[in-house]
Symmetry: D2
Subunit: 129 residues, 4 copies
């Protein structure tokens, strides 16, 4: 399955009053990861041929805190290609060597065309496999 | 178990380029609900007697889109009082009568004191039961 | 000129790692104030008859910090009705009596129709005067 | 004066319901630019020797819309070193060649130590000059 890694940092805007990752922000990175994964295989989130990808389910489990300014590596992998849905899996590591798992999670989107769930386009399915 | 309802609206800042709830924002409302639920039973999130409540797990399932400017009702309920953790359950309705479920989810926090998981304080347990 | 007041609180999501208002967030409240002011005079930001209101200029001056959980009062006033622009003025107070000014600022929007600046519609001009 | 450039993209999380930069987000990039400029001269925003940098004033003027997914170049320059304040100036360009100015703005911070305005530390002044 297609996979990429992004390297980012906990910016001031990403931290909360406890001085660590404000967790809703990690889902913004999840979405950035989705966009960059799709871009990496030649598909644009922003010229989608009439397709829409509403989110159906998201979750995350937090293993260690990411403090303000901490660099992190986010690995995005296609976890499951359903008939009309795509699940992306995420692992966020606190170190460059990807040995310290800070959090993991997933985001499942539905493929929608003209307002209704539709099969993943063949070309996209191929690109993500 | 303790429970409250909040009435809010999908503000401009809460909407995404598809003109509907940008899902990471709902977790900000989840946290607001946690704070208001605690406030309603007389406990302040912001004067916590040395306790910290890092998030351990969050999830959400989306049933119907909430468009820009849509009013919504968020019901927050204490879902589970563990030994050292609290799970809050959330239901977000698209209508005042709470018959149209837009999304539901949960947030589990760990009770931490001096850097280590600690039992829920007796008074807080009582207030949330 | 039209004016309203909103009462809000510095939510967890609005605070930064210094435990006070993360300033970009106040502009989200500015926009909420714009929307509620327009709503109060019977105009919907979300059914705008083909009009668009891109932002041209924003500014803010900070006089005192708003800590996490602090309630505040935001006063929104129409500051200037130009030919094709509207300036909203904002004052945010740290107290219910509006004697402690925490910050003030403004937001100027351009009235755009079919991609070009257009005169403020007569009815809207009247409602905001 | 010290200056750097950052290259970023209007992410899904940065766009509003009009499909373009949600302006409060640009201030998050302003802050990221401040942090990276300081880092580039060897000063850490996150190990600040007891100094605090509350924001005193911010502004921005918008010249052209940045649509979703648009890459941009943000130039950050130290605009003024006062006695107890620093003004950062920002220019955001829609093109790699920095000929299409999308917006410009500034952020003025006060140097605070032990709760009071304090002179810019000599070393920091030197680094930023």
């Amino acid at each position: 399955m297609a996979s990429i890694e992004l390297r980012r940092r906990i910016r001031w805007a990403d931290a909360d009053a406890a001085g660590r990752l404000h967790f809703p922000r990690i889902f913004e990175y999840f979405e950035e990861g989705e966009g960059e994964l799709l871009r990496s295989v030649g598909f644009s989130m922003f010229d989608r041929g009439g397709y829409d990808f509403p989110r159906k389910h998201v979750d995350a489990v937090f293993h260690r805190a990411l403090p303000l300014d901490a660099p992190f590596v986010m690995r995005v992998t296609v976890g499951k290609l359903g008939n009309t849905s795509i699940r992306y899996d995420y692992q966020v590591f606190a170190d460059e060597g990807c040995s310290q798992l800070a959090l993991e999670g997933s985001m499942t989107v539905v493929v929608v065309k003209e307002g209704k769930p539709a099969p993943i386009p063949d070309k996209l399915r191929e690109l993500l496999s």
